[in-house]
Structure formats: structure tokens, C-alpha cells
Symmetry: C2
Subunit: 109 residues, 2 copies
DNA sequence: ATTATTAATCGTAATATTGCAATATATAGA
DNA sequence: TCTATATATTGCAATATTACGATTAATAAT
């Protein structure tokens, strides 16, 4: 059905999945990497860096913004994007919290 | 088009996105959490824990297995699942590598 | 051998995602 | 005001994902 039965899961699970999904596209990773590499905000430039159409990139940026992973500041006729520092470290903590739940020592297999 | 233009991105980006996508569904997170919580392999049980149909869970397990995040050992008529320890820590490292790329100090916004 | 149990696979329907062209919007500069 | 530039939005078309019932396959128990 293409529809996720979110009612079966905790809101924490649904929210985590939502975020992971945003990381689940190479174009969005590429955008994030450009933002990480440059020490400052990126105004424009993104369309030339990646090989996708402007509208497609705008859409991916929108998803990153909606997930609160990046911020966009209007700068004259263009928009400057950068990573939302607070959210970024929150996500790092969230992922580590998951990864660190690995039982140690474990008793199987 | 629903098709990702993987040719535009590095294999590292594509592979990372592929993994993130696996984490991008609450049912798969729920499965992983069950496996993390119990200190041993889980044989069956998963279908009762989550509220999804058996075939649906089997499909999600397949994706987790394909991504090499979990392993399945046949145990008589049932199958025991557990997290692939090596891969798990590799993923933790991969995600942290990404998160740690945040420029510090940064000079913008 | 027959039956019960468990998990995988198949087929299919519904919905989501990706991508792009075309269009709209908004600001800067002449 | 008119034009150029930059980004967002809209409207598709193609493909992917999610979910489930039905079926299959494989082993265990009787």
C-alpha cells in the first residue's frame, strides 16, 4: 500500500524513521556534505555542484528544512543554507543512543 | 520519476543512503529494538510483537538482512535473528564520521 | 505418510518518492 | 518600470515502497 502504519509504532520510532529517511537519499547527503565542507553558508552554488535540475534540488532542500536539519536565510535574491547546529548534534546523539543499545556482552548465535 | 539518479553521486553516498533508508521505517526500527533488547537471538516472536502481517515482517527482515544489519540462523522450523555485530559498529562509525564533519568553529549565519 | 508450524515468496493494490519542465514569486539593478 | 537572476511551487510521469492475502517450502511432530 505504500502507506506506513505509523499507529503501530511509538512516536519516537516514527520520528527517528522520518529523520533516517531524509538521510536516505544520496542527493540530500551530497547537499549536506557541501554544507559541511564549506565553513560558511552556501548561497546558490548547490545547483551547479550536483547534477540535478533546480526544481529537484529545491525539493530536497525543502525536505531537509522541514526536518529541521538545515536552515535557510534569504540574502537578497538568493538564499543561504547552512546546517542547523543544534539539530545536528541532537541527531548525532539520537543515532548513538540507538547504536549504543547493543547488548554487551551478548549471549547468542 | 521515483528513480534515484545514483550515477550522479559517489558510491559512498549511495551506500550510506541505502543504509539510512533501511533505518527509515518504524517497523524496521521496532524489529531492531526487539533484537537489541533481548540479549539473545529472537526466534519467531517478532510477528506477535509488532502488529503487522507475517509476510510484511518477513519482507522487512529481508531488507535488514540484505543490508547485512541482521543475521538469520535456521533453528529447526523457525529462524533466529540477531544483529550483525560487526556491521552494527561499522554503521555507528559511519554515522559518526558524518556527524563529526561539522565544521568547528564555523563562520556564518 | 500426514499434519501442523514457521517463514519465505508471489501477486496485487494503494500510496510515496523522485525528477523535470513549466510556471510563479520575489528581489536587485538598469 | 522593465529586466535579469534566484528560488519555490505546480503538475505530471515513472518508479519504489508498503502492506496483505494466498501460496509455497521446509522441517517437526504424530
Amino acid at each position: 500500500m505504500g502507506i506506513t502504519r505509523t499507529e503501530l509504532f511509538t512516536s519516537k520510532q516514527n520520528e527517528f524513521a522520518q529523520i533516517a529517511k531524509v538521510f536516505g537519499h544520496p542527493a540530500r547527503l551530497a547537499i549536506l556534505e557541501v554544507l559541511l565542507k564549506s565553513n560558511t553558508c552556501i548561497c546558490g552554488d548547490l545547483v551547479e555542484e550536483l547534477g540535478l535540475a533546480q526544481s529537484t534540488i529545491s525539493q530536497h532542500l525543502k525536505e531537509l528544512k522541514t526536518a529541521n536539519i538545515i536552515k535557510g536565510n534569504i540574502e537578497g535574491t538568493s538564499v543561504c543554507y547552512c546546517i542547523n547546529e543544534e539539530k545536528w548534534f541532537e541527531l548525532k546523539a539520537n543515532f548513538n543512543e540507538l547504536f549504543d543499545r547493543y547488548p554487551n556482552p551478548k549471549d547468542c548465535c
